[in-house]
């Protein structure tokens, strides 16, 4: 393979690769705003300029193709002065409103300004003023003054979603992004432009002003809105789910996620979350209980159960939970089944019709998919959408694992608090059969929740004196031993003995 010299290192490249691609692949940091690996390079922000030895002018590394015998310097005096000069230009008309800007804390303009900027502005002339607070559809707000005109959002709509809602308008330093006069995005992926925006010009109405980033805690996890299993980062603070952003995974979701998935966290922040186990007293009133008391009560209730000895889980239950549920069902003499909704909104990009985030996993484990109402003794339900109400209410369950304290079926005697997907750890199998790890987000949910699989194992032990409750690692090992999972790769790091639980 041909090689190029970057900062004195000989690096291999594929013909047709640009300098920035080779540099990034080899861990050489090159500042950039308008460059994104998924889109055609535009070379307009001019921050990624590097020096090519022997060339009179600095070149933009995002557009410069590698060539044999090229020697690139990213930190030479010329490259640094070019970057610093661009940085100054970017800030001439940029409002210094970091105190009110949602991007503060993850803003590339802040980062590079800290690195390259002057402590004091050399500008003594007034700034150019442009429209602020312009709605782009229902979910996005645009601020033309903060905008650095990198055109990433415009290119996203033209090249990735191919819906073309956005365009650049005007020229000179009046340039700004405008939206189609219909005022609505026709794509389900519009909010990705908020993540793409390297500055705070595009902000999400959902997250606007909600929290400063440095108060938040971020956890890499998965979206369970559908069975695609998009990799995401969940941001939480003080028990509340704050926002979700896609995380790069070229095999699943590349850099993107859909808007419904991103905004589908309402039940996590519900005011009526069940935080402790509850047991119905003789009068049918709910009384709080400890986990130990609840397990004893649940085992008694299950022994009395006549109608059914099955466990019904929703399609988002993790492999660990499914495995524990199978053990529980067999201890009762029944079987574990699952129910998951299907939609009709699949597109050619990410959204799939299968809404059960782990429906594939459940099927691989041999669980029966249930579509009609049939009785079950134990119910494990995260959100109503996954298990249709009729099915759930008709189940006649006596023990339920639920996230919300309202809407518990009347037949239920013992209710265990169930973590939402953001608070649970476990393995999910996406629609393509890929096993991915769901991780409990820190600082989200009511906290102090015991993992459902652990509770089910306890319950099994209570019902069947010979059963020794297994920890997470043992459950995963049991899943791995299943025939259907023989060929499947599991994510590294889920070791035996691990007992990562729900809550924070």
């Amino acid at each position: 393979m041909p090689t190029i010299k970057i900062n004195g290192r000989d690096l291999e490249y594929e013909p047709g690769e640009t300098v920035i691609q080779v540099a990034h692949r080899n861990g050489i940091d090159v500042a950039h705003y308008c460059y994104h690996p998924s889109m055609s390079p535009e070379g307009n922000c001019r921050i990624c300029m590097v020096e090519v030895e022997g060339w009179p002018k600095p070149v933009v590394s995002c557009k410069q193709l590698c060539g044999e015998n090229m020697a690139v310097q990213t930190e030479s005096e010329l490259a640094q002065s070019a970057r610093a000069g661009t940085m100054e230009m970017l800030l001439v008309n940029h409002p210094l409103d970091c105190p009110i800007c949602d991007q503060a804390g993850e803003c590339h303009l802040q980062e590079y300004s800290y690195e390259l900027g002057h402590g004091e502005s050399r500008s003594t002339t007034p700034k150019t003023h442009l429209p602020k607070n312009v709605p782009f559809g229902e979910e996005i707000v645009y601020d033309a003054e903060r905008c650095i005109k990198c055109t990433l959002c415009v290119r996203f709509c033209n090249e990735i979603t191919k819906t073309g809602e956005l365009a650049m308008a005007n020229r000179s330093d009046n340039e700004q992004v405008v939206m189609t006069s219909k005022g609505e995005f026709t794509t389900n992926y519009s909010m990705n432009i908020v993540d793409l925006c390297p500055v705070g010009a595009l902000t999400s109405r959902d997250f606007r002003f909600k929290s400063r980033l440095w108060f938040m805690d971020f956890t890499p996890s998965l979206c369970t809105g559908c069975a695609r299993g998009c990799n995401v980062t969940i941001g939480g603070r003080g028990g509340r789910f704050m926002r979700m952003e896609p995380r790069e995974n070229q095999d699943v979701n590349q850099w993107w996620m859909c808007d419904p998935g991103r905004l589908g966290y309402g039940h996590v922040n519900s005011e009526t979350r069940l935080a402790t186990p509850a047991v119905r007293d003789a009068n049918g009133q709910w009384q709080p209980a400890t986990f130990e008391q609840a397990i004893v009560a649940a085992s008694a209730a299950l022994k009395d159960a006549r109608e059914s000895h099955d466990v019904l889980l929703d399609g988002g239950a993790t492999l660990e939970e499914l495995e524990a549920a199978r053990a529980l069902a067999s201890a009762m003499g029944g079987q574990a089944r699952f129910a998951a909704a299907t939609g009709d909104d699949a597109d050619e990009f990410l959204i799939v019709n299968e809404k059960g985030a782990n429906a594939k996993g459940a099927e691989m484990l041999g669980l029966e998919r249930q579509a009609d109402a049939a009785p079950a003794a134990v119910l494990v339900v995260e959100r109503d959408g996954n298990v249709p109400a009729a099915l759930r209410d008709g189940a006649g369950a006596v023990v339920a694992f639920v996230t919300d304290a309202t809407n518990v079926p009347d037949s239920v005697r013992v209710a265990f608090p169930y973590g939402s997907w953001a608070e649970r750890s476990g393995l999910l199998v996406n629609v393509d059969g890929r096993v991915q790890e769901l991780r409990a987000a820190r600082q989200v949910g009511p906290g102090n929740l015991s993992p459902a699989f652990a509770l089910m194992e306890e319950l099994t032990g209570e019902l069947d004196g010979n059963h020794v409750p297994r920890d997470r690692g043992e459950l995963v090992a049991a899943v791995k031993n299943e025939k259907a999972f023989a060929e499947v790769a599991f994510p590294a790091g889920v070791a035996a003995g691990q007992t990562v639980g729900a809550g924070s």
Partner: protein
Amino acid sequence: MAKKRYPETKILSKNFDKENSWTFDVARENGAYTMFEKALKEMTPDQVIEEVKTSRLRGRGGAGFPTGVKWSFVPKDVDKPKYLALNADESEPGTFKDRWLMELDPHMVLEGCLICAYATGLSTIYIYVRGEYPLSQERLWGAIREAEEKGFLGENIQGSGFSCNAYVHTGAGAYICGEETGLLESLEGKRGHPRIKPPFPAVEGAFGCPTVINNVETLAHVPWIIEHGGEAFAKQGIAPDPDNPRSNGSTGTKLFGVSGDIKTPGCWEFEFGITVKELLYDYAGGPLDGREIKAVIPGGLSMPVLTADELDVPMGFDDLVKVGSGLGTACAIVMDDTCCMVEASENIAHFFADESCGQCTPCREGCHWMEKIFKKFNANQGTRSDLDLLEGLFVNIEGRTICALADAAVWPLRSIIRKFRHEFVAKMTPEEQAAEKEAQAEKARETAGVS
């Protein structure tokens, strides 16, 4: 001293003073399309390109790239269609030579285009005329229709099997569309944002296909070159510097224009080599009565200014570069002693700030910033640090952008600040003026002490 008039030549301008010179009949009488016929019937495309290469014809739009070399870049065996985009978006301030050509001799322009089309094997000509030239558009359309009627355009021209169509494409008012890749974007129905090169338009231009982009005047030269041969053309004007193998010289003739504070502004054709002074005094009539020439931008607005003492320089690509300026479009703008250079700077900066396409950061933000600083001076609020700041901005803007618009903004302004610093000092606040005076005195003392 008896003044020797630099002789006018009449090659491009041979029909300018004929009545109805733009009609086919008048043009044909004067030999229009005969050279196209000659090329078509007697020469191969490669011979045409070779002839143009021999002539050392350089682009007349400002950059001066050798035309024959440009044509030879066009790939021969491609499935894609190829295009000629004739750059008639003459939006460089002070420049009007292409308008004269298009209005007074559109058939010569069209003939040049056709020879180019034949040489590079392309079949569609787009003449991108700026929207502000309605008469040029009208006359070019007229010429195209007449040429079609007479069988010099369209299918199977003159029975040779060569087909070519020509259309006028109207611009809508943007300086940047005179930049070749900006022009292509505009031709494709987009905003005129210049593209990064490579790929060069000759390989991947309009609609992703190989495209030749030439200036109107450049192609108007081609019929003469075919008629008289490249050698004859190369003998005119300034020969290449024999000591510099990369020098291309400034061969042939050129339309030179003069406008601004001058008695008889206008456009004349000369061989390269007339000095700026000869042009201004012998042809343009010298300064207005009772005034003196202060500064001249030799080509358009985008070149560094020459002061009154620097005018004894030949108008040629390399010669003007040697004195720190450039030929540009070879249409000089003259400023006399009534002109305040600070106000002129603001005017120039406003032009570039207004016409910046907004794509690259340094140009988008920097041009307007410069204008704001000049405004500050014109409000008598300037400081010495503002001048230093401007010098800093020039460094950050020049050579840091996709196209040359930012460079074009920097060059005249930087030269004005350096050559007319005293005018800027006169527009500073009184304290700053005193400080400047002190600094100058200090400098003088130092110099005296050293020597």
